[in-house]
């Protein structure tokens, strides 16, 4: 029997308590009603396999998902925002060095800077349609939502709290979106053009 646990390289040791094979020794249970026993046998072993499989499958693909999310979404989007923030910080440092009373210019740079500072990844991240679809399937089939990753859930709750605090006294805050980022980019580009510097 021992060999049966050598599936996919796993040693199966964590199965000790839940393994249907563990029941075999007791000699009772099997044999009273063949149909019931058949169903039980099928269920027990199928479910045990499913449990092991789901864990193994998740572990096997986590890194692949991470790499994809990093390279396809996170890094390029972060770079876009970072470049804008860096450019704006550079402009601000520049005008502070050569300030000749260009108040209007400084005000424009500061406004862009402030708006950029408020943008979060969650404001501009594209939706993960596959994740949403799968969460929906879970909700429909089991009535339960899929557990969110702890760290990300914590971050999301913190943002909700910030929004709540931020909206006190200001009657609601509308989060920026990707369209706002585009507009800020245009303003930034025209600033650079005004100063005759080429901003990438």
């Amino acid at each position: 029997m021992a060999g049966k646990f050598d599936l996919n390289g796993g040693d199966g040791s964590e199965m000790a308590d839940e393994s249907p094979w563990a029941d075999e020794g007791d000699g009772v249970g099997y044999g009273s009603n063949p149909d019931v026993e058949w169903a039980k046998l099928s269920n027990d072993f199928t479910n045990a396999g499913y449990r092991e499989g789901i864990t193994a499958g998740k572990e096997a693909s986590l890194q692949e998902g991470f790499d994809a999310g990093y390279a396809q979404t996170g890094a390029p989007l972060g770079r876009d925002i970072g470049l804008m923030r860096g450019t704006v910080a550079g402009l601000l440092s520049y005008v502070s060095l050569v300030s000749q009373g260009q108040d209007e210019l400084v005000a424009e740079i500061r406004d862009i800077s402030n708006q950029l500072a408020n943008i979060r990844f969650s404001d501009i991240a594209p939706r993960d349609m596959e994740a949403e679809q799968h969460a929906l399937e879970h909700l429909e089939s089991t009535g339960e939502a899929v557990d969110e990753n702890e760290e990300l859930e914590g971050k999301r709750r913190m943002e909700e709290l910030e929004d709540m605090l931020g909206s006190l006294g200001r009657g609601g805050v509308k989060r920026a979106g990707i369209e706002d980022v585009k507009r800020l980019k245009e303003r930034l580009d025209s600033l650079c053009a005004r100063l005759e510097v080429s901003c990438g």
């Binding site: 049966k4 599936l7 996919n8 249907p20 099928s42 072993f45 199928t46 045990a48 396999g49 499913y50 449990r51 092991e52 499989g53 789901i54 499958g57 998740k58 096997a60 693909s61 986590l62 890194q63 692949e64 998902g65 991470f66 790499d67 994809a68 999310g69 990093y70 390279a71 979404t73 996170g74 890094a75 390029p76 989007l77 972060g78 770079r79 925002i81 970072g82 470049l83 923030r85 860096g86 450019t87 910080a89 550079g90 402009l91 440092s93 520049y94 060095l97 990844f121 993960d128 994740a131 799968h134 899929v146 990753n149 702890e150 760290e151 650079c192 100063l195 510097v197 080429s198 901003c199």
Partner: protein, 173 residues
């Protein structure tokens, strides 16, 4: 009739049930791993490149200013260029996907940050603290780089799924 009974197939029956369950479970688990991994990778990639991009944008702007003013021998321009050269080495993808043979991300990150500070000092402007810099987690992560360097499974950002405990500990670079 008894002789037709294949005992071997009955023994294998349990295994067959188990295997079919395992396969279904594996396929389902794979979807969850991809989804959760993707969510984590998106956040991490954004965080890293938001900071690096900031330095890049800053350096590019100053390079553009020096170029506009034709101050090609200025020290500031050299520092800006050196910063940009460092940033050009910073990967847009988790290096595990390509070859991470001798890429030391934490070291490169430190070099980029200090080169940025040097540039600021040269320009006579205050180095801007990045929005995320105040968060302790970033520093903590840096203090314990977990570069996995054991040949076969080299990853720079290694995700470990932990049944117990938060996954955050496994995300490292």
């Amino acid at each position: 009739m008894a002789s037709d009974f294949d005992l071997e197939s009955l023994v294998n029956l349990e295994q067959t049930f188990y295997d079919s369950g395992y396969e279904d479970g594996f396929n389902h688990g794979r979807i969850h791993g991809l989804i959760e991994g993707r969510a984590l990778g998106r956040e991490k990639g954004f965080e890293m490149w938001e900071e690096v991009g900031f330095y890049e944008g800053f350096a590019k702007l100053w390079k553009a200013i020096y170029t506009r003013d034709r101050r090609f021998d200025d020290r500031g321009l050299h520092h800006a260029q050196q910063l940009l050269d460092l940033i050009a080495q910073f990967p847009m993808a988790n290096p595990s996907m390509s070859d991470a043979s001798d890429l030391d991300i934490p070291r490169l990150f430190r070099q980029i940050r200090s080169r940025y500070k040097v540039l600021c000092a040269t320009l006579g402007v205050r180095a801007t603290l990045r929005a995320g810099d105040s968060s302790p987690t970033r520093e903590v992560e840096e203090d314990r780089p977990r570069l996995v360097g054991d040949g076969a499974k080299r990853r720079v950002w290694e995700v470990q799924s932990g049944g117990q405990g938060s996954i955050s500990g496994g995300l490292s670079f």
